[in-house]
């Protein structure tokens, strides 16, 4: 019984694949699930497992040749064939957005071999949420036994597997999961340390024991600074008009909503408009691994992180879908996050999923700063102190205007100065166009 193998579709938008290397020659035996060919696409390189056990009869495509998905690439003579696997062409099992499956690690929820065929098909019918969570948590869907209807793997199954570490972890994750802080390790022992004090009340000559939050901040900052080459740029913005707009609206807004109206929501509104023009600023660099080349992932959502300084640490809660909110909506969302941050009531969801960060840094008079990018994002922008300055305008008149610097740190792997300065110019244009005639 001969089975024709076709070029698998390795990813949802992939239409063709290149045979990188045949791992088997004509006449070789191949086991079901054994990789017999390596395929590369513009997205992934993956070993393709054989859907049947048998002998290679024919290789139809040469190494280096690119063919459309669905094109026959090999014929395998099946041994001990089941009738169901008859002459009909069979697509090689589709790799789930990641390279070839790993051997199950054998602990806990990892599936037995007998269940694997069913699980294989469950992985193919995985919902968008399951695929996304599996990707984010580096879980191989095919190693999980589903708890849903007909053995379907559910989103909760993925999260449970990620928590227990039971499922096969996909090797060399392309980026750290944005929402999962590293597990707490025992604090290292510092030789000779006897006295300790609190971060908020540091005592000279003592060691401050790091809180979990402090430790994560330290790790993330080092990671970001070491992996993302930071470049920096600054632009000066005339915020006189937007300031007046805020002054006109703030009393009414505070009366109606109970939140203070600061300039922050206006800034965020301008930032999301500029991000829409420069999607690469709303992206992240995904490092390559053994088989996958590095890439840049352009985020489909604009989730804006707000850097909020607290006495003991920094938190960066996220306004989701910030591009969908009006200035009023942004003000309410930011007001709520800031209030919850100060009360220590932010949830895990509030902190996850940021794609770009805004830091309203100028309150204490700073007029320039060089922020560190939140790991996994392409940039961070700070809004500095607003200072009245004498400005010579284009028509050579002199005016007193309220000026502010906006500073941008960018991941130079993702964007160059061309995009970054375009982004800053756009931000300046949007903010200077805002004035009291606008609608909140």
């Amino acid at each position: 019984m001969a089975t024709t193998i076709t070029m698998p579709q390795l990813g949802e938008t992939v239409t063709e694949g290149t045979v990188a290397q045949w791992l088997k020659s004509v006449g070789d035996n191949v086991d079901k699930y054994e990789d017999f060919v390596e395929v590369s696409t513009d997205k992934v390189n993956a070993g393709v497992p054989s859907p049947v056990t048998g002998t290679i009869r024919e290789l139809l495509v040469k190494e280096g040749e690119t063919v459309a998905t669905g094109t026959p690439i090999a014929v395998i003579d099946e041994t001990g064939a089941t009738p169901a696997a008859a002459e009909a062409p069979a697509a090689a099992p589709r790799a789930e957005s990641t390279p070839a499956p790993q051997t199950p690690s054998g602990n806990g929820a990892a599936a037995s071999v007998a269940e694997s065929a069913e699980i294989e098909s469950a992985a193919r019918g995985a919902s968008p949420a399951v695929r996304r969570l599996a990707r984010e948590h580096h879980v191989d869907i095919r190693t999980i036994k589903g708890s849903g209807a007909n053995g379907r793997v559910t989103a909760d199954d993925i999260l449970a597997a990620a928590r227990s570490g039971a499922a096969t972890q996909i090797a060399a994750p392309p980026a750290p999961p944005p929402s999962a802080p590293p597990p707490a390790a025992a604090p290292p022992i510092v030789p000779g340390a006897t006295q300790t004090s609190q971060y908020a009340q540091p005592v000279p000559g003592t060691f401050v024991t790091l809180t979990q939050a402090r430790r994560i901040i330290a790790e993330r900052m080092v990671e970001s600074r070491h992996t993302a080459p930071h470049a920096w740029s600054m632009v000066e913005i005339d915020v006189t008009d937007v300031w007046q707009w805020r002054v006109r609206e703030k009393d009414r807004f505070e009366r109606e909503t109970g939140f203070r109206l600061t300039l922050l929501p206006f800034f965020i509104r301008a930032v999301v408009k500029s991000l829409a023009e420069f999607p690469l600023m709303n992206a992240k660099f995904v490092a390559g691994n053994g088989s996958a080349p590095p890439s840049i992932y352009v985020n489909p959502e604009m989730n804006i992180g707000l850097a909020i300084g607290l006495p003991a640490n920094l938190v960066v809660p996220v306004i989701r879908h910030a591009d969908k909110l009006s200035i009023k909506g942004l003000a309410a969302a930011a007001g709520e996050l800031i209030e919850n941050a100060r009360k220590g009531k932010l949830g895990v969801d509030d902190l996850a999923g940021g794609t770009f960060t805004v830091n309203n840094n100028g309150a204490n008079g700073s007029w320039a700063s060089a922020p560190i990018i939140n790991a996994g994002q392409a940039g961070i922008v700070t809004m500095e102190a607003i200072v009245k300055k004498l400005i010579v305008r284009n028509d050579d008149t002199i005016a007193i205007r309220q000026m502010m610097n906006a500073c941008l740190s960018l991941d130079h792997r993702v964007v160059d100065g061309y995009v970054a300065s375009g982004f800053l110019a756009s931000l300046k244009r949007h903010l200077e166009a805002m004035g009291p005639q606008g609608e909140l």
């Binding site: 949420a129 989103a155 989701r320």
Partner: protein
């Protein structure tokens, strides 16, 4: 109307509409009411009973049986500075006024380049389950929600009726105010005393849950809530969202809920094809696809020309709390 505390009064939905209209007539002399039988008869549900005696025939206007005229006259009143509340006696009768609503009222602001606005409310009882048969059961929201320039409100609770009707009367543009007639006397609730408003476009999460988001409006909100509470006993956690405003629609509330529960069931009485659920479903597919762990499902009225009079036909048309609970169970199990 029973007063249970100094700050609230228990009312049903009819009483809430009546009390809100009464307060509006009292406090704003621009407000007037026009429609069939709103004067001497005091409206078929007695919502405007005795209003004509107190406010006079110039403000409580009995019209001929001519819906195009009711809305058309209200458009003119609104453009000239009044705040008309036009009543279509039953939503089933609204069709003759379609041109005045869609072609005129919705477009006044645009076609006059903002020189005129059309601050009017069109109130109408809609929906079935009351043996109203072909001409007293229809849901009309999907016919109008496609039209930019119209706002559509469909409250389910007396307190929302008051807050949203106040907002609708204040609104500078036309608002359609849909009252599910089965909830009129069936649903009672505490209503805050004094004047207050509820913003349009703001949904209400009636019950929080983690495994499934249910979005509904009108009568079915109550039944969905009943089904969700019943499922609580089975260890199934369902979030129930009352849309309240159909347009503008509270996308944020829906998206936030779906991102939490990852599953969405939309329930409405209006038929499925091209209904409100179609828009919600498309919006969630566009904006939250990668949060979905199950196909979106719509539990809606059947695509038939009308609700039958015979009880088995009416029951077949309407979804029951038990059917809703079954759909919820299936989705959570998926």
């Amino acid at each position: 109307m029973a007063v249970v505390s100094a700050n609230t009064t228990v009312m049903n939905n009819v009483e809430a509409v009546r009390a809100t209209l009464y307060d509006a007539l009292k406090s704003d002399e621009r407000v007037c009411i026009l429609g069939e039988d709103v004067g001497a008869r005091g409206n078929v549900f007695l919502i405007t009973k005795d209003f004509v005696g107190e406010f006079g025939e110039r403000r409580i206007i009995d019209t001929p049986i001519a819906e195009a005229s009711i809305v058309g006259i209200a458009v003119g009143m609104a453009m000239e500075g009044l705040r008309p509340v036009a009543e279509i006696q039953f939503a089933d009768f609204i069709y003759p006024s379609f041109n005045q609503i869609v072609g005129e009222a919705a477009k006044i602001r645009y076609r006059s380049n903002g020189e005129y606005t059309c601050p009017m409310v069109i109130r109408t009882p809609y929906g079935g389950g009351v043996r109203g048969a072909l001409s007293h059961s229809v849901s009309i929201e999907a016919l109008f929600y496609h039209v930019p320039g119209l706002k559509i409100v469909a409250p389910s609770f007396p307190a929302d009726v008051k807050g949203l009707l106040n907002t609708a009367i204040d609104d500078p543009d036309p608002v359609m105010f849909l009252e599910h007639k089965k909830t009129y006397r069936l649903i009672k609730g505490e209503v805050p005393n004094g004047h207050y408003t509820i913003p349009l476009g703001k949904a209400n999460v009636l019950k929080e849950g983690t495994q499934l988001s249910v979005v509904s409006y009108g009568l079915y909100v109550h039944w969905a809530l009943e089904a969700a509470r019943q499922l609580e006993g089975e260890g199934i956690s369902v979030e129930v969202i009352d849309l309240r405003s159909i347009r503008p629609m509270d996308k944020t509330a829906i998206l936030q809920s779906v991102e939490k529960t990852r599953k969405l069931l939309i329930i409405h009485e209006d038929n499925k094809f091209g209904g409100i659920g179609a828009e919600i479903s498309a919006m969630v597919a566009e904006e939250a696809l990668f949060h979905l762990d199950a196909p979106i499902r719509r539990l809606c009225g059947p695509d038939v020309p009308a609700m039958g009079y015979a009880l088995p036909l009416e029951e077949e048309f309407m979804s029951s709390p038990a059917e809703m609970a079954d759909a919820m169970r299936e989705m959570v199990k998926f």
